[in-house]
Symmetry: D2
Subunit: 293 residues, 4 copies
Amino acid sequence: MSSDVSESHDTTARLLITCPDKPGIVAAVSTFFFNHGANITALDQYSTDPEGGTFFTRLEFQTPHLNIGKSVLMKAFSETVGKRYDMDWRITYAADVKKVVLLVSKHDHALLELLWRWSRGELAADISMVISNHEDLRESVEGFGLPFHHVPVAKDDKPAAEQQVLTLIEDQADLVVLARYMQVLSESFVSRFENQIINIHHSFLPAFVGADPYQQAYDKGVKIIGATSHYVTSELDMGPIIDQSILRVSHRDTVKTLREKGKDIERNVLARAVRCHLEDRIIVHGNKTIVFD
Amino acid sequence: MSSDVSESHDTTARLLITCPDKPGIVAAVSTFFFNHGANITALDQYSTDPEGGTFFTRLEFQTPHLNIGKSVLMKAFSETVGKRYDMDWRITYAADVKKVVLLVSKHDHALLELLWRWSRGELAADISMVISNHEDLRESVEGFGLPFHHVPVAKDDKPAAEQQVLTLIEDQADLVVLARYMQVLSESFVSRFENQIINIHHSFLPAFVGADPYQQAYDKGVKIIGATSHYVTSELDMGPIIDQSILRVSHRDTVKTLREKGKDIERNVLARAVRCHLEDRIIVHGNKTIVFD
Amino acid sequence: MSSDVSESHDTTARLLITCPDKPGIVAAVSTFFFNHGANITALDQYSTDPEGGTFFTRLEFQTPHLNIGKSVLMKAFSETVGKRYDMDWRITYAADVKKVVLLVSKHDHALLELLWRWSRGELAADISMVISNHEDLRESVEGFGLPFHHVPVAKDDKPAAEQQVLTLIEDQADLVVLARYMQVLSESFVSRFENQIINIHHSFLPAFVGADPYQQAYDKGVKIIGATSHYVTSELDMGPIIDQSILRVSHRDTVKTLREKGKDIERNVLARAVRCHLEDRIIVHGNKTIVFD
Amino acid sequence: MSSDVSESHDTTARLLITCPDKPGIVAAVSTFFFNHGANITALDQYSTDPEGGTFFTRLEFQTPHLNIGKSVLMKAFSETVGKRYDMDWRITYAADVKKVVLLVSKHDHALLELLWRWSRGELAADISMVISNHEDLRESVEGFGLPFHHVPVAKDDKPAAEQQVLTLIEDQADLVVLARYMQVLSESFVSRFENQIINIHHSFLPAFVGADPYQQAYDKGVKIIGATSHYVTSELDMGPIIDQSILRVSHRDTVKTLREKGKDIERNVLARAVRCHLEDRIIVHGNKTIVFD
């Protein structure tokens, strides 16, 4: 996974394709790009079944020697290749840096991990703002030179708070990251950002769905704890899993030390998922993800 | 964890204690052993809470310079220390090698791992026999010089098969290992061998309880698969967890490759659990284990 | 990594290419195969530098609908694509199962791991024979129905033994695996099987080259031990690394327990390397490997 | 490992012992503490050899019910137990929080990890100051409310800079942490802080000693990179290893991505080592560490 944000900025583009698998797809795609002066610098593919399955591919190509403009390229690809193979496809340009909104409650570890990596150039994101239902992290966020918005959530009027969040992020979010945001989003909010909301859940899903997974893990006496990053769907903690990681624990761990130790995997697993999303490495297919990393 | 079976055979003994935590326990125990010429060579302890919690400890001591015999030692310990601190305790001698019965169905990987480690002296066990509901593995087992018993399980008369197993292992099992034995044992069988039956479940419990966990993992799209060794209780796949391990997988994995790859963690996780049990490293407390390794 | 030996047997072929990177390679290759009725079912590529670097790719394609024969395909590929892009390439057929010779001394763990996996269909190999400088493992090997040859190595006449090995394996080895074979092979032997000899070294190379790496690791007080599989070159333990794995250890470990524990990673790391080689997933480039897994 | 700094602050004390192994040590020590009203809440021990080896132990005990004062306790222990068993021992109190000085150059990741954990109460340290040979990290450090000192190192007068550092930290450092400080310390500096300087080296030592280990790892083509925390001795990168961790890499990684990815393990491995030191979990013995964690 390239982390060289600055260099890739200007010249790299990515193509993601989902389509019925049949012979000739790679030949058609690669010939198209060759004919138009785009050098393919990375290519990954996967098929659920070469005979009648679904085909997925991710290409990285360089745009400096393109012999046609962006919009013409899109049109030409659609006409020449996309329609012929019944493709669901999209082309994105690294130079069009994605706008990201971060939502957080009180825990700072997942948020700070993202902000650190971003400040060091490891995440190619244009962070629009951080929104929290608490004031606690204002100073940390503003220290990074980012806008911080406090949107308290009243128990008896959650929709109002959510509406306020929506108003704030209107057109400012290609990606919404829930960096330990402890509020459940409404179905309408979620459907507004399909496959564009990433959450970190502090357990090895599907074990320990819902509240206080470390307490659940402690009660069960597991010898390993986990963290899971996933796209948010209307069903709580059940969206397509992007990445998971684990940590060995023992009988000596209390709920408190589990929470403490778990932070380390939570922040790494969230950061990896966000990076993969920003670099267009993820295709959602049904309730699963294809991650080309 | 010592794997030097032959040398430890004759001279090592182990003491496991569970009791209410209060000051002076370690002093009382260690003074008792010092007074009787037993050199403590390993000591591990854990307390759920120093104030009013439960205290657990495991000692290894050497017996060559003991100034009293085994049975006198037991009696003296009970009188001098055990009763005073309201201890649940047991002393075992490495020289009294545990009798082990292995139950298996058709998959050979977990079984062979155990037999191989045993044949190299890594597991201090006296393997009485292998019992299977299929004939498939007879040759492999007999190649290790071990008795193999085929006890088919008729769908309409499972109790008969279980009774046959019970008759075979009567007095031959300090430990029963289900090395991918695909039959559910009855509550009466399980209660007969409390904390003496170890199972390997091919998932990261409590995720994917029950049948075909690899299919469940595939359907869910997890990025990590797991294996869990646990003591068997009357509730399916819910007994105290001894050890767990995991493996990263990806969208490329099929149910078939998950099964294939999972074998590697299943056999390691089972082997570690069996070794810990044989070396008296495990104390069961409620629905959890304390593992001193 | 597909482990489905039986199914892939008949229909899968693989193409490995190394060539100077320039635009159009993927288009040329994929169009060639499409034109000849070969469906590409896997494609992986890597370039050291898109501008003037070296390009590597591995394709898997299905042969049932090929409209030309094997030898014609090879010739056509060479004429149409290979020469034009100055390619170093090879096509192999899964149906042409590779002949493998295993060399071993006294330690059985690495050898048995390979034989087990092979016997379960996990390794698509035609194991010609096992050769050892000791008699110890004859029974184990013959139990798998394989020829075992004892070729003792006299200290004062190593060349004679090596010649005897060479005579035995003449034309029987597409791959030679040193499964803990404790003899150093001569430069002439090694050059006879360039990139066709895989060794397992029981350390995290380049740390602890040479004799008794576990003793070296113990003396140094490392907290992690490792194992490394690599192709054998004339320089001891310095050939291109294929795979590595590690295990956490502690101050409690003795040289003896390091040796014991290390076996588990040695056998896994060797098995993975052998599988990658058998499935033509490895390209050697200078002193490094590109592993498409 | 307890991370509950605030609660353990007042009441926990730790005893570390190194002495010749002989029967009766645990009995003597535990009886001593019991007699003086100190409840032992953790006990770990290790012996290189029960017959004539060296014995190490770490005890945690609670001080609220002590029937004698600190200095009397020390004297009494020395008289009653320490001398009798020829012990090298020390008792420390969690309430006497250790003073720590952090040295850093330009890379911020290791430093920020420590500051972040410290600010959340995960590291029981009294951080006196951060010293750097560059100005770059002043703002980050001062943002945590900590003094930052810039001590540039002139190529032709390193001793002067080192003297300046010494003057700054005089009496302010129970522990010096080199959080990617790219200057080699003189032998006299090192001997002034024996077993009190912790360094993070960005490789799996003893592989890749010295400059630019990621370049070395890249050139060698390893499949795993590592990080090592160790006490600093006069021999560069050769002091006793405290902790190590690794990360899988592949042929796709460049020196640049290795550096990027390596940061994650560097900061974790350093943070663990610092925590173990602060909690008196490490005994140095020859060129190795015993880490009771």
